[in-house]
Amino acid sequence: MKINHRGHRRINTARADQPKTTGRRADKWILRLYVAGQTPKSLAAFANLRQLCESRLAGRYIIEIVDLTKAPQLAQNDQIVALPTLVRKIPAPIKRIIGDLSNVERVTLAMDMDPAPGKK
């Protein structure tokens, strides 16, 4: 993962050939991950999130990474206290998870993601 110097990076995995509605609730997920530089925790959180999204939301998710060391003014808007913080912007309602997302099962539950395709 590379985080650019504007402190903001979008990873868009949506592809035109993917079916539009496979989720229960939404076509597209927008997830925002707040980090502070490339600390082990933020790297771990990103890796865990990426893996999870690929398995559950392949092709219909966007991960925005906000590096607060580059853009500290963004911390107030989303009420960031702990890092890393994952914010589910879409679908509503907004949900937050703090931590390195090491417990994948609980992330899926908390984020209300579809069960893994393999398990269906």
Partner: protein, 586 residues
């Protein structure tokens, strides 16, 4: 590893590290009284913990510290609030006359409201509070803040579950604040037998201030105590404090020493006769006068005379009334020809009326201090001090009065305290036991004789001046107060109509004496004239005799000369003159 923890942002304020400081640098809070207790303020560049139960004024203290820093000391500040939002805080302190939105617009204050909603947050794996650091750091850098308030950071403990992480991060936060040289106020809720519920005092150990809100006998009093102040001496007592329309005022009570300057100037009591009793000049300026007496002896009237005299000299007076309303006092004083309302209009006289029971004793004291500081009067009247007991117990009210007297003496303010003595009490004592601390003690009493009650005044003591030992009768007329010497005679001390009767009797006796004297004088004059007439007639007889005698003597002389001439003529005719006879004749 910890990139985020050691990063340096451009514009970050360099920590100022002066050479080895001889004394701890202090940051004034601007809060009245607090800087006095702490000897100059909170430790500069260090965090201070302010703890107390709910509603004790922690948040206000933190906010006032920031606002006063921004306004009075040019030190911008960041308020990170975990409980109230910015709008609420603006409203809260707007009532104290602080315009937060303007300070924000002027980049002197930043308010960041941190919301942690447990229901919205899921914890998953390792995390830290770097987000909080970044927010705080960003806010500080935006305005170049020198002061920080965190209110109440313990809310984090209810929002997040991982205590280990929280504690580590809090320790790091306080270290970080210290490292950046920020003077911080951190508030914490009291509880669980500790100073703060989460034991924040473990982390913030430089200075701990405890606020308390106690209800004692249905009267609540806020108190402040500096529990700890590393590297500095500080007042260790519990100091009462007041929250009113100008913010927090702490009253440093026992900070006063007996080393004030005294004045030799004398000021009139407003009553000529009383001035005469006090060495002809009245009270010392800045002295404490106790005026005690039973009900209806005219204590307030005597006080009002002093006030009126001071106002006529163009000096300001402050009248604390714990029994009557200002309008009532004004009306009553009009009846003795004192028009105090004119002085009120000229802003030379201000009344403050309150029931003693509305506040605790300390609160009264704080309020009196505050008003005195604000108004800067030359004379203060407290009518009556005996009533203040109702707001506390005897020992408390004594302490309060001692503090008050010390304070007023230090400011060279003449104080007149009125004390009501009840009938069953010895006159020459006061409930408050304050007789030994006052400079001048006047006693008003009534003397009941011949079916009437009359007022008498005497000076029980008056330090540093020759004062009268007389009991004077003291008459309140529609033209003012008049002192007349009481009748002291064989019949004892007489007052009122008895005195008048006795005086009339005396006058009659005097008149009788005078008539008798005149009569005798007249008789003597007659006698003198008679004697003189006699002398005149005797002298006339004598003079006649003397004339007769002279005449006779003259006749004898002529006769002798004739005889001589005849003899000479005879000698001549005989021509028998011898030599010797001739010689002798030549």
């Amino acid at each position: 590893m910890n990139v985020a923890r050691t990063h340096k942002r451009p514009g970050a304020r360099k920590v100022r590290l002066p050479g080895p400081p001889l004394q701890l640098l202090k940051t004034p809070t601007g809060i009245a009284g607090l800087d006095e207790i702490t000897g100059g303020g909170l430790p500069a560049g260090r965090p201070t913990l302010v703890c107390g139960a709910a509603g004790c004024g922690k948040s206000l203290l933190a906010t006032e510290f920031l606002v006063r820093g921004a306004i009075q000391y040019g030190e911008p500040g960041v308020l990170m609030t975990f409980e109230e939002n910015a709008v609420d805080i603006e409203k809260n302190v707007a009532s104290l006359g602080f315009n937060i939105p303007r300070l924000i617009a002027q980049k002197k204050i930043v308010i960041d409201h941190v919301v942690i909603d447990r229901s919205e947050i899921e914890e998953n794996g390792e995390y830290d509070l770097e987000g909080l650091f970044i927010r705080l750091g960003h806010a500080i850098d935006r305005i170049g803040a020198r002061r920080v308030a965190l209110d109440t950071i313990e809310t984090l403990f209810s929002g997040l579950t991982n205590q280990t992480i929280l504690r580590t991060e809090l320790r790091r936060l306080f270290g970080w604040l210290k490292q950046r040289g920020l003077t911080a106020v951190i508030t914490g809720e009291r509880g669980g037998g500790q100073l703060t519920r989460q034991g924040l005092e473990e982390y913030v150990s430089d200075c701990v201030v405890l606020l308390d809100h106690r209800v004692d006998g249905e009267v609540s009093t806020r108190r402040l105590r500096v529990v700890k102040y590393r590297g500095s001496t500080h007042g260790t007592n519990e100091y009462p404090f007041l929250i009113d329309e100008t913010g927090i005022s702490v009253l440093p009570l026992t900070g006063s020493h007996l080393n004030y300057q005294v004045s030799n100037q004398r000021i009139s009591t407003g009553i000529r006769g009383l001035d005469a009793m006090l060495g002809g000049k009245g009270y010392f300026r800045g002295s404490t006068v106790l005026l005690s007496g039973t009900a209806g002896t005219g204590k307030t009237s005597v006080a009002a005379q002093l006030v009126a005299a001071a106002c006529r000299r163009g000096e300001r007076c402050l009248f604390f009334s714990f029994e009557e309303s200002p309008a009532q006092i004004l009306r009553n004083m009009r009846s003795i020809n004192l028009h105090l309302e004119n002085h009120v209009r000229q802003n030379l006289l201000r009344f403050h009326s309150a029931r003693p029971t509305t506040l605790g004793l300390e609160m009264h004291l704080v309020r009196i201090h505050k008003l005195v500081d604000e108004y800067r009067p030359s004379t203060v009247v407290i009518d009556p001090v005996s009533n203040l007991q109702n707001a506390g117990n005897l020992a408390d009210s004594y302490n309060m009065l001692v503090r008050l007297i010390d304070y007023l003496r230090k400011k060279n303010i003449t104080a007149l305290m009125i004390s009501l003595t009840t009938g069953d009490q010895r006159l020459e004592s006061t409930n408050e036991g304050m007789s030994s601390i006052v400079d001048t003690w006047l006693l008003l009493r009534d003397i009941e004789t011949h079916g009437e009650r009359n007022r008498a005044i005497y000076v029980l003591k008056s330090r540093g001046m020759a004062h009268s030992n007389q009991v004077r009768e003291f008459i309140i007329t529609s033209r003012g107060i008049k002192l007349v010497p009481a009748y002291l005679g064989a019949a004892g001390v007489l007052t009122g109509s008895a005195r008048l009767v006795q005086e009339a009797t005396d006058r009659a006796a005097t008149r009788r004496d005078e008539e008798e004297r005149e009569r005798r004088q007249l008789a003597f004059a007659h006698r003198r004239r008679a004697v003189e007439a006699q002398i005149q007639s005797i002298r006339a007889g004598f003079e006649a005799e003397a004339e007769e005698f002279a005449h006779t003597m003259a006749g004898t002389d002529l006769h002798r000369q004739d005889a001589e001439r005849n003899r000479l003529a005879m000698e001549k005719s005989r021509q028998a003159i011898n030599g010797t006879t001739k010689m002798r004749r030549e």
